[in-house]
């Protein structure tokens, strides 16, 4: 990928290290690079502990003093990582907003829905007037009646609260919307309502969406492109159709085969032997090598790089496609 392409959100070489309680460093995210265009929907797939949530939190600048974040993060070409706390705060919500996993808990229990959204709305550049209309508009956008504004969080169901969280996230029309497992722990029917709300919200505001999920089905249905994460690294990235039908990395392939699919319900699901690595623990060679069915000699000793496969749109971090130089014939 050429370095000149700029999306709405540009993440380049993102690296997150966390100082643990014992003073040991956990290298949670390594060299994460991706770019999302305006109105585009980008997915981050991975299993628990793969670093996808940490990536999101570092984009929001919410990791706290124990974490060291390296690399570049640009919104519309402006670097945001190095800027000061005040500047980061200014950008939050007006340029980059987030929907957290447990939306049930991300609403203040003693404040009405309407006031919470209005509070968020005032963060934006817009003037004080018309806040009420904006609140009602975003509620409608996510399929909720304006009447919901007068209610308290505990009076709504989990799915409705999650949709409120989405409404709140887009009320300032941010350039980038991050969503962290927005449908985990929700039933399929509620999940469908929430995903529709998310899509409508992004379509209406033109925000670039970064959707984090462990569910191939959800990512596949919503996103245009996606990155697969494993052990803190992106192991493959490309268009959804490519990832689903021509995965380059063995992990992607197995993950796709392990996910049930409506179109082919009779298919035997795959399972990957072994357990995922502990987050942040450094390893020699490829992180997936211990569980990889296709591993060969260099995998244990040389860490592969993320390089294009077939077309520039698809990239994989695997020796199968790019044998290390000394091993090449």
């Amino acid at each position: 990928m050429s370095t000149t392409t700029t999306g709405c959100l540009d993440v380049r070489g993102l690296d997150v290290t966390l100082r643990s309680g014992e003073g040991r460093d956990l290298h949670l995210v390594r060299d994460v690079t991706f770019s999302v265009g305006s109105g585009e929907r980008f997915g981050l797939i991975g299993e628990s502990g793969c670093g996808k949530t940490t990536t999101l939190m570092s984009l929001m600048g919410l990791l706290g003093a124990d974490a060291t974040v390296g690399g570049e993060v640009r919104i519309d070409g402006t670097e945001i990582l190095g800027s000061g706390e005040r500047d980061v705060r200014r950008r939050r919500w007006s340029e980059i907003a987030v929907v957290f996993q447990g939306a049930m808990n991300s609403l203040n229990p003693v404040v009405t829905i309407g006031r919470q959204i209005a509070e968020a709305a005032r963060r934006g550049a817009g003037s004080g007037s018309g806040v009420r209309e904006r609140v009602h508009r975003v509620l409608e956008l996510v399929g909720l009646r304006a009447e919901v504004a007068r209610r308290y969080p505990h009076e709504l169901s989990g799915g409705m609260r999650q949709r409120v969280a989405i409404a709140m996230a887009v009320v300032c029309e941010p350039r980038v919307l991050l969503a962290d497992e927005p449908t985990t722990a929700l039933d399929v029917i509620v999940q469908a309502q929430v995903l529709t709300a998310l899509e409508n919200a992004c379509a209406e505001t033109g925000a670039a969406l970064v959707l984090v999920s462990h569910d191939m089905g959800v990512i596949g249905e919503v996103c245009d492109r996606a990155a697969v994460m494993y052990g803190g690294e992106i192991v493959e990235t490309g268009r959804i159709e490519t990832l689903l039908h021509e995965p380059a990395h063995p992990y992607t392939r197995l993950l796709v085969d392990a996910s049930p699919r409506l179109s082919d319900p009779g298919r035997e699901l795959a399972s990957i032997p072994g357990a995922p690595p502990r987050p942040g623990v450094d390893h020699a060679g490829c992180g997936f090598a211990p569980r990889c069915p296709d591993r060969f000699e260099p995998c244990g000793s040389h860490g592969p790089a993320l390089l294009p496969v077939a077309t520039a749109l698809q990239q994989a971090r695997c020796h199968l496609h790019h044998p290390p130089a000394e091993e090449a014939p």
């Binding site: 966390l18 309680g21 014992e22 628990s48 996993q101 808990n105 962290d180 987050p279």
Partner: protein, 308 residues
Amino acid sequence: MSAAAEVLARGRRRTRRRTRRLPSPGLAFSVALLGVFAVGALAAPALFPDGSGAQVGAPYATPSGAHLLGLDDAGADVVAELLWGARVSLLVGVLAGVMTVILGGVAGLVSGYFGGWFEALLMRVTDFFLVIPVLPVMIVVAALYGTRLVNTIVIIALLSWPGTARVVRSQAKTVRQRLYVRRARAMGASHGRTLVHHVLPQVAPLLGASTALAIGHAIFFEAALRFLGLADRNTTSWGQMIADSFERGAITAEAWWVLLPPGLAIGLVLLSTTVIGRRFEQRTNPRLAVSHLGLRSFRRAAAAKEAS
């Protein structure tokens, strides 16, 4: 699990184990302090064989090399009084505290685990005791039923157990709801087995915490009863020393060496039992933490600190 929690879960778990291994300076200090008082109480007859109240010099003599904390209104050595007093104060504390926890622990465990009418009854009783001001009841009972040391101990225990029962009950109730307890029941395990193998280990740290705190409270209440003249005057205790210094003019005599030691002793012992009790509480599973004084586990505080 919150977003940040996912990131920190593993590191946090390790930190917890570490805090378990290394007692904090506060805890070491508390245990040492209690140890010093306990040893002093036991050694009192050997160090001061004349017993409490023995006159060794002029009233309100200032502290000196011979009498480190000076003499009180009767010319008795304040150090001797303090050590002899520790015997009674600590005895009342330990006996009343243990009695409180036995009564409250059994009631709480049984009602929390089995539920039903017993629990409903216990809840009413504890609700009642929660609003009834304990000290006035103690005063009235002591005034009506007599002031012997045994009475003091029994009164304190009888009026304190509902608090322990309440805390133990809610912990037992939470543990009962735990998946592995339900699984054991589904497997066909008897109530006895489930209680002993699954519930009790989870409640045990709380019983430890309750004991520590109940000991502190008992010492506190004993001092209050003494102050109001509702305890056995034939023995001395820290509470009695405070009462005496009030009634016999230690303040007017500006005898700070008489006034300060008993109050500080009670304060330090209670501080120690609170610190130890809190430590016990932290050993209960953080996700089911219920606690005394309404203080949710301090462990969570530590966890939150890491997360932010």
